[in-house]
């Protein structure tokens, strides 16, 4: 293809049109997110679909969440040991791992792993349903897709990410404990005692609020991109990729704001 042909084939879009599209997308996402919550108070409620999604999202993500936080806890202990040993303070590894995992790494890692696995899954599943007219069929058969498909996924992700984070936090501490005991020769009882005693209410509260926010982001972003799919199977692939990227970026950005907000509110 000649350079001229290539340039002429590029579709140029005016900044106004681009801004309009972005604002429209933001509006559509906001409506979807608000409806997904409002549907909790409207009938019918799809309890069976929620349970099924909880199994798929929660139980399905369990091994990778546990493994990722376990090894992150271990790596955190190793890295901390290098620095702390210079000051002869390796005994406080438990405190460092505990604070790091419970306040920050546990929720964020669980969120990122679940986003990678489930935002893509939701976007591809709903996207495929769009391109094969199954969503239109559902509406034609008298079912609201937001009630049937989106709300159960949002509820399931929020609830299951909360529990996954708790289990992940424990596995992160366990990973740190293995490193502390087996590689650094620290007393396991001392490690766990330090890890436990250093945690205060605000640490645990912060660590358990974040998964609720992240779970909401993961499910609404995945469903939004899935239901906005255009352009056949290629469109499904694009929606899947965009959903994962958007969910991960949002988790990382929102984490900063939630952390700051909770620090102000809790005075920590």
């Amino acid at each position: 293809m000649a350079a001229g042909d290539f340039l002429s084939s590029i579709e140029l879009i005016s900044p106004t049109e681009f801004a309009k599209k972005k604002i429209q997308s933001l509006q559509d996402y906001s409506i979807l997110a608000a409806e997904s919550v409002a549907n909790l108070f409207r009938r019918p409620r799809y309890a069976a679909d929620m349970m099924q999604q909880m199994d798929l999202i929660g139980f399905g993500s369990l091994p990778i969440v546990l493994a990722s936080v376990f090894f992150t806890g271990a790596a955190l202990a190793l890295n901390s040991a290098t620095t702390l040993s210079r000051f002869g303070a390796t005994t406080v590894i438990g405190q460092l791992v505990s604070i790091g995992i419970v306040r920050e790494l546990g929720p964020v890692l669980a969120g990122l792993v679940v986003a990678g696995r489930n935002s893509s899954g939701m976007a591809s599943e709903l996207g495929s349903m769009i391109v094969t007219e199954q969503i239109d069929a559902m509406r034609a058969l008298g079912t609201d897709p937001l009630k049937k498909l989106v709300t159960p996924r949002v509820v399931a992700t929020v609830v299951m990410l909360f529990f996954l984070t708790i289990l992940g936090d424990f596995m992160g501490l366990l990973g740190g404990s293995f490193v502390a005991s087996l590689l650094l020769g620290l007393d396991a009882h001392e490690y766990w005692s330090n890890a436990w005693q250093t945690l205060v209410f605000s640490d645990v509260f912060m660590g358990l609020i974040k998964p609720l926010v992240f779970g909401f982001i993961i499910a609404t972003v995945g469903c939004y991109y899935g239901l906005s799919t255009k352009g056949g199977t290629q469109g499904v692939g694009r929606a899947t990729t965009e959903a994962v990227v958007a969910a991960m970026i949002l988790i990382i950005v929102v984490d900063v704001f939630v952390t700051r907000l909770l620090m102000v509110l809790l005075g920590s």
């Binding site: 019918p44 007219e133 239109d136 069929a137 509406r139 034609a140 058969l141 008298g142 079912t143 609201d144």
Partner: protein, 282 residues
């Protein structure tokens, strides 16, 4: 091109259509990405009638069906389905209305994660007003109607294209809707399977007396429907004897460049002097 056969695009009288009409389009227009697809079309589907809609690919045939159910909103004009103006109804009210109208999508649109049983029973299970035993009885009855009773436990991926289309028909008729919308029910099927599907449409029309809109590329399907009736004694479709008429009225609607250029019965269609129509049906 010569003058269209019937002066159809004159603005219709404002207000709801007569009660005998199950679907009425009044000066409806829609454009996608600045391309005008339908440009002020008006037509009515009287109760008990089957109307076949023709037009080249991209002429807006499927969009008409989706707009009749409120799945797509027009840019202007009014659409009445079962006496309700769907163009102004909020989505939650449309769900109620849609329960009274059956639709068979172009590619069947069966839920691929559900079995044939659950696909056909979907609407009944959603309404949660029918006992599981009654649902099972009605699913089997609907599948028996399309001669696929032995497929209840299969998934859509295990069925052929023709079987999927028949399951979609079973799903559309299980609640005995007043009106059924067929979107290219024979599209992409071999001639033998197409004939089976057309026979089912005739059977549904003559046995249940439902009104329907039939979108199709295949003129012969609509001609077969206009010239055959279903004989319940032999369980087969039969050619209407010379001089006879089918009980359910059949009409034809032809789209061109976003406009309705013909809306009439078989006789008017075959005797049309319009060059485009003559070329289209030849």
């Amino acid at each position: 091109m010569s003058t269209p056969t019937l002066p159809l695009d004159a603005p219709a009288a404002p207000g709801p259509p007569p009660a005998k009409d199950v679907i009425a389009f009044d000066n409806v227009a829609i454009a996608f990405e600045e391309k005008i697809v339908l440009d002020g079309i008006s037509f009515r589907l009287p109760r008990g009638e089957t109307k076949a809609i023709f037009g080249v690919a991209g002429s807006g045939k499927s969009t008409i069906l989706k707009m009749a159910l409120g799945l797509v909103k027009p840019d202007s004009g009014h659409i009445y389905t079962l006496g309700e103006e769907v163009t102004v109804m909020p989505e939650e009210h449309l769900f109620e209305l849609r329960r009274k109208v059956g639709i068979v999508f172009q590619e069947s649109a069966l839920f691929d994660s559900l079995t044939v049983r659950d696909n056909v029973a979907y609407r009944l299970m959603e309404e949660a007003a029918t006992s599981p035993k009654e649902i099972e009885r009605r699913v089997r009855e609907a599948l028996r109607f399309v001669e696929l009773e032995n497929t209840v436990d299969l998934f859509p991926a295990e069925l052929s294209g023709g079987m999927r289309r028949r399951v979609a028909i079973a799903r559309a008729i299980i609640t005995e809707p007043e009106t059924i919308l067929y979107d290219s029910p024979t599209g992409g099927l071999d001639p033998v399977t197409s004939t089976t599907i057309v026979e089912l449409l005739i059977k549904q029309r003559d046995v249940s007396k439902t009104s329907s809109l039939l979108v199709t590329h295949r003129l012969q399907d609509a001609f077969t429907m206009a010239t055959h009736y279903f004989d319940t004694k032999t369980n087969q479709m039969r050619l209407v004897p010379a001089g006879g008429r089918i009980e359910a009225p059949m009409s034809f609607l032809l789209l061109r460049d976003g406009k309705v250029i013909f809306d009439g019965n078989l006789e008017e269609l075959v005797h049309s002097q319009d060059d485009y129509i003559r070329e289209y049906i030849s």
